[in-house]
Homo-oligomer: 158 residues x 2
């Protein structure tokens, strides 16, 4: 019954960048990602939750090797006088469960999160789509997460 | 040069639910999504950004027809005495740009956000993966967004 999941992917090559307290108005995301793209940095995951009091945070992941360059680019683009700030984390792993029609199988997200929590793994960031559910966790737990998710979804002793 | 994008999808059948101020520790996401799944509500997008002061928000989208049921389920599952609260929005559209290898083409996210901002469309929520970039916007702007994104990515006068 778990055949909808075709793959478990663990990526330990990325870093997280978060811009905090951005004004939630049209054009802000466009400007940010233009800056990063023009700097030649490739962005993988992008996560933005709903705003509170007109402000929100945008987090994205990039190759860890580009972290210095990316932080420099973004620092020039943000308005620190407006309380916008920057955080980053190089000690992450991005784990993804890939398949088809994940939405119509209510069990996948729940199983993925339960599997991680059963192993005491805290979920730092989540972004999902119909074909891929991705969570960012601490890099030190990447192997444990991979093993547990492979056992859960692929019936493999990884 | 835009052939990596194969589809522009606009979904106006969903609603957004956000649980605010959750404790950021292992097991919280698992409990939340178990509750929703056991109630028979199918979850599509899930977005969680990084925590601040040990707390974070989780947002997810569901069929708009399940909103009442979902809110009732979640209210029972959260600890309002711990300042955890619930918000929702039925007036959303989820717009997605789908393709292959979106990560390695730095232009796609930037173009998607720029196209929306050029039309004055504010981006409320973002969750992306290598094959699909999704943004939630106000439902009233769904047609404008679809037209603009089809013109940008599919060279169609939609
Ligand atoms: C925060 C950012 O996404 C903003 N809402 C925008 O549309 O660009
Ligand atoms: C907030 C929630 O995702 C929590 N970090 C968990 O792992 O369940």
């Amino acid at each position: 019954e778990d055949i909808v999941v075709s793959d478990v992917i663990v990526d330990t090559t990325q870093a997280r960048v978060t811009i905090k307290n951005l004004v939630d108005k049209a054009g802000i995301a466009a400007n940010l990602f233009s800056t990063v793209a023009e700097g030649g940095v490739m962005v993988d995951m992008i996560v933005q939750n709903v705003s509170q009091k007109g402000r929100t945070n945008i987090t994205f992941t990039i190759p860890a090797n580009d972290l210095e360059k990316c932080l420099a680019l973004v620092k020039n683009a943000i308005d620190t006088s407006d309380d916008v700030s920057l955080t980053h984390d190089a000690e992450i792993a991005k784990i993804s469960v890939a398949g088809i029609g994940l939405r119509s199988h209510t069990g996948v997200g729940e199983k993925m999160f339960r599997t991680l929590s059963d192993h005491g793994i805290n979920i730092l960031l989540v972004g999902t789509s119909e074909m891929r559910m991705s969570a960012v966790i601490n890099k030190s737990q990447a192997d444990a997460a991979e093993k547990a998710l492979c056992e859960m979804f692929l019936e493999i002793e990884a």
